[in-house]
């Protein structure tokens, strides 16, 4: 039908039907390797996981698994350990996401200035990002250790805020401090680079025109820079929240998988422990589905809300 509208026929010598089919076939060949992988290792696993979550899954003989309906979910929703893990994870997101975004915005603005040593600072601020999670977690564990950790030294002997070294990782609430600080410390550079790229897209002529009209730096930041960064900030918010809800390595390594007393779990450390230590595959799959649903809903809500606000303005 499209061919009759004239739009397509104008484009040089196109689409006889066989030619169209041939072109589509080429396109599908380009897609083939990627989609095979994607279907086998993402789409199918998602459906498979949903199925497992309704079973008391038998890992040795899957055929002997028993259907338990929503029991896995019910048990979980009543489990105080999961409640605590959800709380810890939400706290982590609430602290690390704004922390990363605000600091990253400051860093990006500073790095966007035309100053000497720009490249040096750029690479330096990116170092925590390229260092593996395992390594940075170990560094923070050492920084916060109670025997001779640098943080305890600063708090006790330099600032005189405490009398005794704090045993950060022995207390379920205090353990959140190094974990959250690490989340911010590791993530700022990444967000800053994304924001920096967006800042550099803003034409300097806009700033100059506003300056001619007498707008100072702060005023220009609020009226020009911030509104133009909004799509990038929305993107960052969504991505960082997803990332934060999936916090795994620092919690696993620092708290030794939820110690003390399973009070420091994140949702994912609990999921992996439930699945691979207790071999409760059904329960683990149910946790992953609850989290996935939550991530999905919260992402859609964020995108909707923030889009609306842009339109209103």
């Amino acid at each position: 039908m499209a061919a009759l509208t004239g739009e397509h026929t104008e484009r040089a010598g196109q689409p006889s039907l066989p030619a169209q089919i041939r072109r589509a076939r080429t396109a599908y060949l380009f897609l083939l390797p990627g989609f095979i992988l994607f279907v086998v290792f993402v789409v199918y696993p998602m459906l498979y996981s949903l199925r497992i979550s309704f079973y008391d899954w038998n890992i040795i003989k899957p055929a002997k698994s028993t259907w338990v309906g929503l029991d896995n979910y019910r048990t979980l929703l009543e489990s105080p350990i999961l409640h605590r893990a959800v709380l810890n994870t939400l706290v982590y997101a609430t602290i690390t996401v704004p922390g990363q975004m605000i600091l990253a915005l400051v860093v990006a603005i500073l790095l966007d200035q035309n100053i000497r040593g720009k490249t040096f600072f750029r690479v330096a601020y990116y170092l925590p990002v390229i260092t593996s999670w395992v390594i940075v977690t170990l560094i923070f564990e050492y920084l916060f250790n109670s025997q001779a950790g640098l943080i305890n030294y600063l708090l006790r002997d330099v600032l005189h805020l405490v009398d005794e070294p704090i045993r950060w990782l022995a207390d379920p609430i205090l353990a959140m401090v190094p974990i959250n600080l690490l989340g911010i410390w590791k993530g700022v550079g990444w967000s800053a680079v994304i924001l920096l790229a967006a800042l550099q897209e803003i034409p300097i002529s806009l700033q100059e025109a506003a300056a001619v009209d007498g707008a100072g730096p702060w005023h220009r930041f609020r009226t020009i820079t911030l509104p133009l960064l909004r799509p990038t900030l929305v993107y960052l918010l969504v991505v960082l929240v997803i990332g934060a809800l999936n916090v795994y390595i620092p919690v696993l390594l620092m708290t030794d998988g939820g110690q003390p007393l399973d009070l420091t779990h994140s949702v994912l450390t609990l999921m992996v422990e439930e699945t691979f230590d207790r071999l409760n595959f059904g329960g683990g799959a149910a946790i992953s589905y609850l989290l996935m649903a939550f991530v999905f809903v919260i992402s859609v809500v964020q995108i909707r809300l923030l889009r609306q606000r842009v339109e209103v303005q």
């Binding site: 080429t26 600091l103 603005i109 593996s132 170990l138 924001l195 992953s288």
Partner: protein, 280 residues
């Protein structure tokens, strides 16, 4: 924020002051790691802790590197990361080319399906991926790591590369086609060479991801000799709780390839992100 014309010395002081203050926070943990790695073991828990070691030794390095198959783990990691990066670049370039420059029925729908992959956190898929890999005989093998890593990178790298491919002017393609070149020729000889910043950015992201990946390797590899570095380092720390010097010596060696890759490709990096659709 400040235009060059209106910049005053106090602005410059403010800018450098803040940048250096931030740098201290970034640098202290790294400095501590490096200095602990060259301190003799008895100073690991010295009090007050010192950022500058009073005595420098390479003993931690020689011990860490000679022990526990460290060299093998390093090679395992390197092999997995290099193969993953190469495969990801090929497969996602193919996808990105189709989505960026070709027309076919179902294009939009398929693209959204693929983007969905960016919203699904990798760790969530671990359980079914474990069961499927078991079925396909991929557990305990590096191939099993590579296929999963490639797949988990596809969505994001395709999205990133598509932004580049779309920005290449159509006239170039037309010129090749007039000379009788097909889609493959265009893809290999026009699109890929013109997208170097994009490919560099994708290389950095993918290499870092596969070098760093912990959860899947932790679950999928049980055979000691096939471990990758992150697993090996985490387990080593767990077994030798006070041997921080050796832990950090191993960590620093593990950091080298990452720093090399980043140094090689960083020139393209910001530009790469700016030109892709990645920033929102």
């Amino acid at each position: 924020m400040f235009l060059p014309a209106e910049r005053k010395p106090r602005h410059l002081i403010l800018i450098y002051g803040l940048l250096i203050a931030g740098l201290v926070f970034v640098a202290v943990p790294f400095t501590l790691m490096i200095s602990t790695s060259v301190k003799p073991q008895q100073y690991t828990f010295e009090y007050p802790p010192r950022l500058i070691p009073r005595e420098v030794t390479l003993r931690n390095y020689t011990q860490a590197l000679s022990k526990d198959l460290f060299f093998l783990y390093f090679l395992n990691s390197l092999g997995v990361a290099v193969v993953t990066t190469a495969c990801t670049l090929v497969v996602s370039s193919l996808l990105a080319y189709a989505f960026g420059r070709l027309d076919f029925p179902g294009k939009e729908a398929l693209f959204y399906v693929l983007l969905m992959g960016m919203m699904i956190p990798p760790v969530m898929l671990i359980i079914p991926q474990f069961l499927i890999s078991k079925l396909l005989g991929l557990l305990n093998s590096h191939a099993g790591l590579v296929v999963v890593y490639v797949t988990m990178n596809l969505s994001m790298q395709t999205f990133l590369l598509r932004g580049f491919f779309e920005s290449i002017p159509g006239e170039l393609e037309d010129a090749v086609r007039m000379d009788g070149g097909g889609r493959w020729t265009i893809f290999w000889h026009v699109v890929l060479p013109l997208s170097r910043p994009g490919l560099a950015t994708a290389t950095i992201f993918t290499f870092l991801y596969s070098w760093d990946e912990f959860p899947w390797a932790h679950v999928a590899i049980k055979e000691t000799t096939r471990r990758t570095l992150p697993i090996a380092i985490a387990l080593f720390q767990n077994q030798h709780l006070t041997q921080w010097g050796q832990v950090f010596a191993a960590s620093i060696v593990a950091l080298i390839p990452v720093v090399v890759v980043f140094a090689l490709f960083q020139r393209h990096f910001i530009r790469g992100i700016a030109q892709s659709g990645l920033k929102g």
